[in-house]
Symmetry: C2
Subunit: 481 residues, 2 copies
C-alpha cells in the first residue's frame, strides 16, 4: 500500500472544480439512464465528498458556473500550507500541527466513516467470544465502514475474508509497519478466516527510483517480517503484484473492470494526480482495489464474486477504498468493509508519520537492544518538564509523550498502563523511568520478532506466496464445485 | 488493435499546447540530467511531432507563452471538421475528403516514417529469395520504420519476430481485416520467424458496451478466422490480453515498465484522451506496446530482451508504436520496426474505413456467394460514366473505382490487373464486366476461407493460444539456457 511522500500535494481548486462538474454530469447521466439506486447513490456520495474537499480547499461552497478565481491553488489546504490549522491526510501525506497528532474524530466526519464505539467492540467480543484486542480497547483501530455488516454475515455463518497490504519501499520495516499486521493476525485467529496480503511492488516501482527486481526483492524481505507476525500458513496468501498478475486468471480481469469504471477526473479528485503523472500511477488505484473482490483469487474462492471482504489498514489508505466502494455496486460486487487505525507516531512526535528513510524516526525491526535503548532515550519526544523539580510538582503530559504513546501500542496490561499514565501525569514517575519501561517492553518484543523472522525460510516464503486453496472456519464455504 | 470510432475526436489546441509545454520541459530535464543520446533524441522527436500536430490544428506554429486564443478547438482539424482539406488518421478515425482515399505520401511526411521504395522491395526479394508479395509490389504496404535494420539482422543470421493484432469488437470480420494477416502469413513463410498475435479484448471491453465474457468470446471467434489464414501452428502464438496477462511472468512487468515512462500529457497529445476518459483507456496504450518487447513472451524468448520485433499493421495503429519506440530506449529495449499498410476501402468509396457494424460497407467473411454478388453489384462505388455511350467514349476512373481497388488487393496476376486497368480506363471494359471480374475473384476466395475456417477445431484454437515454445529458422536462436 502507498506511503510515498514525494508527489504533488493535492488537486488544485480548478482541478477540483472540474472534477465536481464532471461528477455532477455523471450523476445526471445515471439518473437519465435510470441506473440502479446503488449506482446513483454511489455517484452522489462521491459528488458530495468532492464538494466537501472543495469547500475545505476554498473556504466557500462549490458553485457551478463559478470556477475558482485567480488560481490561488493550495493556499488554504494541502500538506504544504504553512499556516494550516486543518489536518491533512491522504495516502502519501499525513500532517498536523498538533503534538497530540491528528484529530481523529474530525477525520471520521471528513471521511464519512463511522466511529468504533463501545457497542461495536462489545459486539465483536460477543461474536468471537474473545477479549477485544488492545488496539480496539484503546481506540488505535478507531474507525470503520460496514463492520456491522461483516458481523451480521459472520453470525449467519456466512464467510468473509481479510485483505491488507504493504508497499515494499525498502528492506527496512519499523514497528509502526507491524500495527496492521498484528491486528490482522488477531482478526484471523478470532474469526478463523482467510487472509490475502498485497505487496504492491508495482506501486513502489512506479513511485520510486527502483528497478523491478529491487521492488520484488523488498517484497520478499518484507514478507519475511510479515510472516514473522505469526500468520497461519493454511489461511494466508501473500502476493507480489508484479508476480501474481501473471499467475491469476481473475486478478487482471477485475483490474480492467475497475479501470473501466473510474475516470481520470475521479482519480485526480481523490488522489491529486496531475497531467504530468505517468499513466502507471493514474491506473494504479485499480490494482489496490482489485483484491477487495473475492474472484481476484480463484484458487481460494473459485469464481465466487460475493464473499465479503474486510480491510484492516491505516486510515490514510481510505481514499483507495472509498473509490473501491464507489465502483463495487457498478460492477456487481459487494463493497469491502474497513477497519481504520490511527497512525503510529514518529519518535520525534505525533505531528508526522514515520519515515523508513530516517533511521532515527522509529524503532526498526532490525535494531539491536542497544540501538533501541539509545533511540528511545535520545529521540523519543518527551512530555516531561524541564527539571525534575518542576516534573515532580506539575507532572508530565502523556498526550504528547511519545514513549507513553508507544506503550499504548505495545504494553498489553491495561492496569499497568493506567498506573503509568497516572504516575507520569502526577509527577510520581520521571521521564527516565517511563523511557526505561518502554525500553523493557520493546527490547524483548523486537528480539522475539527477530528470532521468529530468522526461522522464516525461503521455502516458507515461497509457500505463503503460492496461489493455493486455503482452509476456513465455515463448512458451507467448502464449495462443492 | 484499436478501431473504435466513438470517442472524442482529438486533442483540443489547448491540450496540445500544454502537451508541448510539458514535453519541452521533459527535453530540458533530460538534457540537464545528461540522459543518453537515444533518450534525448526520442523526446525531441516526440516534441517535434506534437508541434506538427499543433500547426496542423491551428494553422500556425506553436509559440511558448502564447497559448491558443479564444479556444476554437478542432476548428481546422479532427475528423469532425466539415471543411477539412487535410486527411485525418488516428487509431479510431480515418477520414479524407478525397474519393481516391488518404494521401499516403503526405501521411509518411506527417508521421515521419519512410516510404517502402523499389530498393527496399528488391532487398527483401534478395534476402528471402522470394518474389515480393503483391501487397509490396502494389504499394499496399507502403511505409515502414527501420525495415532495413530488420534485414541487416536477418542477413547476419540474427533472429527477429513478428507481432500483429486484432481488436475483437464483434464476431464478424470482413475481408479488410484479413489484409495484415495475409501479409503477416507471407512474412512468416518467407522469413521463417515466430509470430505473436494480440487479441486486445481488454481494449474492446474498455471502449465498447461489452462484458468481459463477450469480449473474450469475440477473441475466440476472430482467432478462428485468423488461424484460417494458414499460420504455422509451430511458429504462431495467439493471445487474449484478458487471459494472457494472468498466464505470463513477463507481460505485466513490461506493461508496468512502459506505464512508468509515459505521462498522461503524452497519451493526451498522441491519442486525444481527455480527463473524462476512464483510467483503463488512459493506460491501455502500454498494453498494446508491451508485445513489442521479446521478454513479454518468456515461453518463446526466455528472458531475452533484445530480439528485434517487426510489426505489420495498418498505418492508423502507428501512434501506438511511435509511443512504443519513444519509450523503448528509456527502458533498455530495442525499438520495434514497422511495416504500414494503406486502408482497405469501404464498398461505398475510399473516403472512409469500413465499419464492422454496417453489413453493406464491406464483404464479410461469412457472406454467401450470392451476398457477395449483390453487394458488389449494388454497393461498390463505381468509377464508370453515367451511360454506356459516355463510358465507351471517355473511359472509367480506376482511381476511385472500388471494384478495381479490391482487385488490386486480391487479384494475384499483375498482367491481368494491368490489362483491366487499361481496358476500364479506355472504356473497352464496362462497369458490369469489372464488377463481374471482382465477384469471380471474391466468391472462391471467401468460400475457401470459409472451408478452412470450418476445419479449425476448438482444440486447434486452444493450442494456438497456449503459451509454449515455438520453432525458428536460426539455430543460433535455440537458447542453451
Amino acid at each position: 500500500m502507498a506511503d510515498v511522500p514525494n508527489r504533488e500535494p493535492c488537486a488544485s481548486p480548478l482541478d477540483l472544480f472540474n472534477s465536481i462538474a464532471a461528477q455532477g454530469e455523471l450523476v445526471r447521466t445515471l439518473k437519465a439512464e435510470k441506473a440502479s439506486k446503488d449506482e446513483i447513490d454511489s455517484a452522489v456520495k462521491m459528488l458530495l465528498s468532492l464538494k466537501m474537499s472543495y469547500k475545505a480547499a476554498m473556504g466557500e461552497d462549490y458553485k457551478a458556473d463559478c470556477p475558482p478565481r485567480n488560481a490561488t491553488p493550495e493556499s488554504n489546504s494541502g500538506p504544504d500550507a504553512t499556516e494550516a490549522s486543518e489536518d491533512f491526510v491522504d495516502p502519501w501525506t499525513v500532517r498536523t500541527s498538533s503534538a497530540k497528532g491528528i484529530d481523529y474524530d474530525k477525520l471520521i466526519v471528513q471521511f464519512g466513516s463511522s466511529k468504533i464505539d463501545k457497542e461495536l467492540i462489545n459486539r465483536i467480543e460477543r461474536a468471537t467470544g474473545q477479549r477485544p484486542h488492545r488496539f480496539l480497547r484503546r481506540g488505535i483501530f478507531f474507525s470503520h465502514r460496514d463492520m456491522n455488516q461483516v458481523l451480521d454475515a459472520y453470525e449467519n455463518k456466512k464467510p468473509f475474508y481479510l485483505y491488507t497490504g504493504r508497499g515494499p519501499s525498502s528492506e527496512a520495516m519499523h514497528v509502526g509497519h507491524l500495527i496492521p499486521f498484528i491486528f490482522t493476525k488477531w482478526l484471523q485467529d478470532v474469526f478463523n478466516v482467510p487472509l490475502v496480503v498485497q505487496m504492491s511492488d508495482d506501486e513502489k516501482y512506479l513511485w520510486k527510483d527502483l528497478s523491478l527486481d529491487q521492488a520484488y526483492s523488498y517484497t520478499i524481505e518484507n514478507a519475511k517480517d510479515i510472516i514473522a507476525c505469526g500468520f497461519d500458513i493454511n489461511k494466508t496468501f501473500i502476493f507480489s503484484d508484479l508476480e501474481y498478475m501473471g499467475m491469476s486468471s481473475g486478478f487482471y480481469k477485475n483490474v480492467v473492470k475497475i479501470q473501466k469504471h473510474v475516470t481520470f477526473n475521479q482519480v485526480k479528485g481523490i488522489f491529486g494526480f496531475t497531467d504530468s503523472d505517468c499513466i502507471g500511477k493514474i491506473s494504479f488505484p485499480a490494482i489496490q482495489a482489485a483484491p477487495s473482490f473475492s474472484n481476484s483469487f480463484p484458487q481460494i474462492f473459485q469464481d465466487k464474486t460475493d464473499i465479503q471482504c474486510l480491510i484492516p489498514c491505516a486510515i490514510d489508505q481510505d481514499p483507495y477504498f472509498r473509490m473501491t466502494r464507489d465502483v463495487a455496486p457498478r460492477i456487481g460486487y459487494p463493497k469491502p468493509a474497513l477497519l481504520h487505525s490511527t497512525f503510529f507516531p514518529a519518535l520525534q512526535g505525533a505531528q508526522t508519520k514515520m519515515s523508513a528513510s530516517d533511521p532515527n524516526s522509529s524503532i526498526f525491526l532490525t535494531d539491536t537492544a542497544k540501538q533501541i535503548k539509545t533511540k528511545v532515550n535520545k529521540h523519543a519526544f518527551s512530555g516531561g518538564r524541564d527539571t525534575v523539580e518542576e516534573h515532580r510538582q506539575f507532572g508530565g503530559n502523556c498526550d504528547v509523550d511519545v514513549s507513553f504513546m508507544y506503550l499504548t501500542f505495545f504494553l498489553e496490561d491495561d492496569d499497568r498502563l493506567e498506573q503509568i499514565r497516572k504516575d507520569y501525569s502526577s509527577g510520581a514517575m520521571l521521564t527516565g523511568e517511563l523511557k526505561k519501561t518502554l525500553i523493557d517492553v520493546l527490547q524483548p518484543l523486537i528480539a522475539e520478532h527477530q528470532a521468529r523472522r530468522k526461522e522464516v525460510t525461503d521455502e516458507m516464503v515461497k509457500e505463503f506466496m503460492t496461489p493455493r486453496q486455503l482452509t476456513f472456519h465455515f463448512q458451507s464455504f467448502c464449495f462443492d464445485t
